[in-house]
């Protein structure tokens, strides 16, 4: 019997299944697209992306998104942006190649930095190394942590001491090591003295001397014996000279060791000073301590987005692996294969943005922005990504140039008249309300070299102090220094290799606060430093004193031994030589 290959009767159910699938797609396409967009957006950015409504109008190639909220990857209860409505014109044909080409996006009602009810961070909470966003976030956080400047500990006007752990002082192990070296040298030198074996040489020489005393000038054998004894004594003296050189060298080393103890003690003084939590009172250090921790944050955030852009928009046309879609099974990696003269995987040709910077203000200002060439394959698109925004007291620009092997990313913004929230000045219980300030940011990342500047200027700052600050002398001084100042001018600069750039912060308050602090705090600093030095001395002297005495004793002992041996040899040699001269002198009748 011939077996049929096709099951013709199954075509009907299969077609019905296809129709059902089509109907389900028609009904649920918007929901599926919305959820997928949220999922992909969240994965890409490392923060929750929420969409209230998404409508696909494939017949006209339009996608409508309403109520878009993108949480901040850095701040728990803050949004990066919200948008009332986004309308995208999508090119349909490239979708068959799984390529998303958006010819134009119109975004209305964009708002930045709005508050949210729940923590929207994803990468920050998922631990280090979760996905690309998680890895980049961890890297930038690690990068920013290198700029932890010592915070002023002047809030109470008291200098706090951390306990001094003797195990962390370097003088004590140095003293132990020197004591051991002294003992070792003493043993070595004693052994060297013993191995000289001067006793037999001296005994023989003395016996020869005795014979020589009773000998006559014609007693040639005794004279020769005496000459040989003198030679032996000379050789013994050479050995003693060599030992003396060793001892001199060793003594010199031990003296260096003693000097090293003094150096180690200076190091311990410096270490102990660090325990005092004393800030440097120089103006630049005061500026860094006051505003450094806050000033590094904008750099960290901009760097995060630029590094993300570098990962998602790499230069060149080589295959690139990125994390695959999240699913129950392992995600694996998606490898992209860009090809010359083909469309990139993702491209936004142009976007027109309309936004507000302070939506809650009495008269919210509207701003306009434009974005072009946002693509996953810059080498295929052939032009850099450019974004600009303009408006009243606003100028901002961004260029991501990933066309060549070394990517160059530049961003700059100047925003005026924007009210920033009041913030706590680190280490000092003062709150600073910058009022309506002008903020400038310049950021250039050329390959692995960074040059960045952040500045904030305001002429209407308002200072408030915490109640716990009232009884503090130092607090009073700082308060006096800043309370009358209504201008604020802070500038932070980063420059150099990305992995370790130079970081400098200056403000118009540095000089004033530094001078006030030096005036009163200088004496307290000196007193505290002396107290800390005394503590170090108390711990160190118990150990260093005996070692110093032991070293001195070893030196003296070794030098005395060598001198004594030399003297013994010289005495016998001199006597022998004198007697020999007496016997061999020619006496004329």
């Amino acid at each position: 019997m011939r077996v049929k290959i096709f099951r013709w009767k199954a075509i009907g159910p299969l077609l019905i299944l296809l129709v059902i699938a089509g109907v389900l797609w028609w009904v649920f396409a918007d929901t599926i697209a919305r959820r997928e967009s949220q999922k992909v957006g969240t994965q890409l950015l490392g923060a929750k992306v929420e969409i209230q409504r998404l409508h696909l109008d494939l017949a006209h190639g339009k996608v409508l998104i309403q109520g878009l909220t993108v949480a901040s990857p850095h701040e728990a209860l803050r949004n990066l942006l919200q948008a009332d409505e986004l309308v995208a014109d999508v090119d349909l044909v490239p979708l068959t190649e799984k390529k998303l080409i958006i010819n134009r996006i119109a975004a209305n009602g964009l708002r930045f930095g709005t508050a949210r009810q729940t923590d929207g961070r994803v990468a920050a909470k998922s631990g280090e190394g979760q996905g690309i966003a998680g890895r980049v976030l961890a890297e930038t956080h690690q990068w920013a942590s290198q700029f932890q400047v010592p915070v002023l500990q002047l809030a109470t006007g008291k200098i706090s001491f951390d306990s001094l752990d003797p195990r962390r002082l370097s003088t004590i192990p140095a003293a132990d090591a020197l004591g051991a070296r002294a003992d070792s040298s003493r043993r070595a030198w004693q052994l060297a003295v013993d191995t000289l074996r001067l006793g037999p040489t001296l005994d023989t020489a003395r016996a020869t001397l005795e014979k020589l005393r009773h000998a006559r000038a014609t007693d040639l054998a005794t004279l020769n014996e005496a000459r040989q004894a003198i030679e032996r004594l000379k050789r013994a003296r050479d050995r003693v000279t060599m030992l003396e050189r060793n001892v001199t060298q060793g003594v010199s080393n031990l003296k260096s060791g003693l000097a090293g103890l003094d150096t180690a003690r200076q190091r311990d003084y410096a270490f102990a000073r660090g325990l005092l939590k004393l800030p440097s009172l120089d103006a630049p250090a005061v500026g860094a301590a006051l505003f450094g921790p806050g000033a590094i944050r904008p750099f960290e955030q901009v760097l995060y987005y630029m590094q993300l852009a570098r990962r998602y928009m790499p230069p060149g046309l080589l295959p690139r692996a990125t994390t695959g879609p999240s699913r129950v099974r392992r995600a694996g990696e998606n490898v992209r294969f860009p090809k010359e003269r083909n469309l990139p995987g993702f491209l936004v040709r142009s976007a027109e943005l309309s936004f507000q910077l302070q939506p809650n203000a009495e008269q919210p200002q509207r701003y306009a922005g434009r974005l072009s060439g946002l693509t996953s394959d810059p080498a295929l698109y052939g032009r850099p990504t450019i974004a600009t925004a303009t408006g009243p007291q606003l100028g901002a620009g961004l260029m991501l140039n990933h066309l060549h092997d070394i990517p160059v990313d530049t961003a700059g913004a100047s925003v005026g008249g924007v009210r920033f929230p009041a913030f706590q000045v680190p280490g000092v219980p003062l709150r600073l309300d910058p009022g309506a300030a002008t903020t400038q940011l310049g950021f250039n990342l050329n390959g692995d070299t960074i040059h960045a500047r952040f500045a904030i200027r305001s002429s209407s700052v308002h200072w408030t102090r915490d109640s716990g600050f009232a009884n503090s002398t130092i607090g009073e001084l700082i308060w006096r220094a800043v309370s009358g100042v209504s201008n604020l001018d802070v500038e932070a600069r980063l420059s150099g290799a990305l992995h370790k750039p130079g970081f400098a912060v200056r403000s118009n308050l540095d000089q004033a606060i530094g001078a006030q602090l030096r005036g009163v705090f200088g004496e307290q600093v000196a007193g505290a430093e002396k107290q800390m030095r005394d503590r170090v001395d108390a711990v160190v002297n118990d150990k260093v004193g005996p070692v110093r005495a032991r070293v001195t004793e070893v030196q003296k002992q070794a030098q005395a031994q060598v001198a004594q041996q030399r003297a013994r040899l010289e005495e016998v040699q001199n006597q022998l030589e004198q007697r020999l001269r007496e016997l061999t002198r020619i006496r004329l009748p």
Binding site: V3, R7, I11, L14, P319, A321, G332, V335
Partner: protein, 171 residues
């Protein structure tokens, strides 16, 4: 529990169906693609259509799918490795680049290491699985098959409603 009963029903239903050992083995092989590779992919729609349209054991397909799902999860690291090696092999770069820039083909997610690795594994595994299953079914039917068919518990299993549903799709 229901899934387990269904699986047992599928197993014995398939073993004692009127289909030939070859039809059952072909069904299991097609089902193995569904089990070994990530399910929601275009190639699995084709596999499913083949399972429905071709005169192979549908129950065998369900059985192969159910049996190989755990192996799919277990072997994901191996699939990842295979897929990674294939996708990043310099000698194959031209092929992948062409496929990636063709219409429709990228929708298969072939550029995912797990999808490609598991698919290649399933293809390589298909022939041994087919011959081994066909031999196993032939031996089973020739040896203990009739005794199992006469047993009380077999009758109990096949008497359930789920079996009736299965019968609609038997070869």
């Amino acid at each position: 529990m229901f899934a387990l009963i269904k699986l047992i029903q599928s197993l014995f239903g398939a073993l004692h169906s009127e289909g030939t050992p070859g039809q059952l083995a072909a069904g299991i092989v097609l089902g193995s693609f569904l089990g070994l590779t990530p399910l929601v992919n275009v190639h699995n729609a084709v596999i499913f259509a083949a399972l429905v349209l071709l005169n192979v054991s549908f129950a065998g397909g369900v059985l192969g799918w159910a049996l190989l799902i755990p192996f799919g999860f277990l072997l994901d690291p191996l699939f990842d490795w295979i897929g990674h090696d294939l996708l990043l092999a310099p000698s194959l770069r031209g092929l992948w680049t062409s496929l990636y820039n063709m219409p429709i083909v990228p929708l298969t997610n072939f550029n995912n290491t797990i999808v490609l690795g598991s698919f290649v594994f399933a293809v390589l595994f298909a022939l041994p699985l087919f011959f081994a299953t066909r031999l196993g079914v032939t031996r089973y039917r020739a040896t203990i098959g009739e005794r199992v068919r006469q047993s009380k518990w077999y009758r109990a299993v096949t008497a359930s409603k789920a079996y009736n549903v299965y019968k609609m799709f038997r070869p």
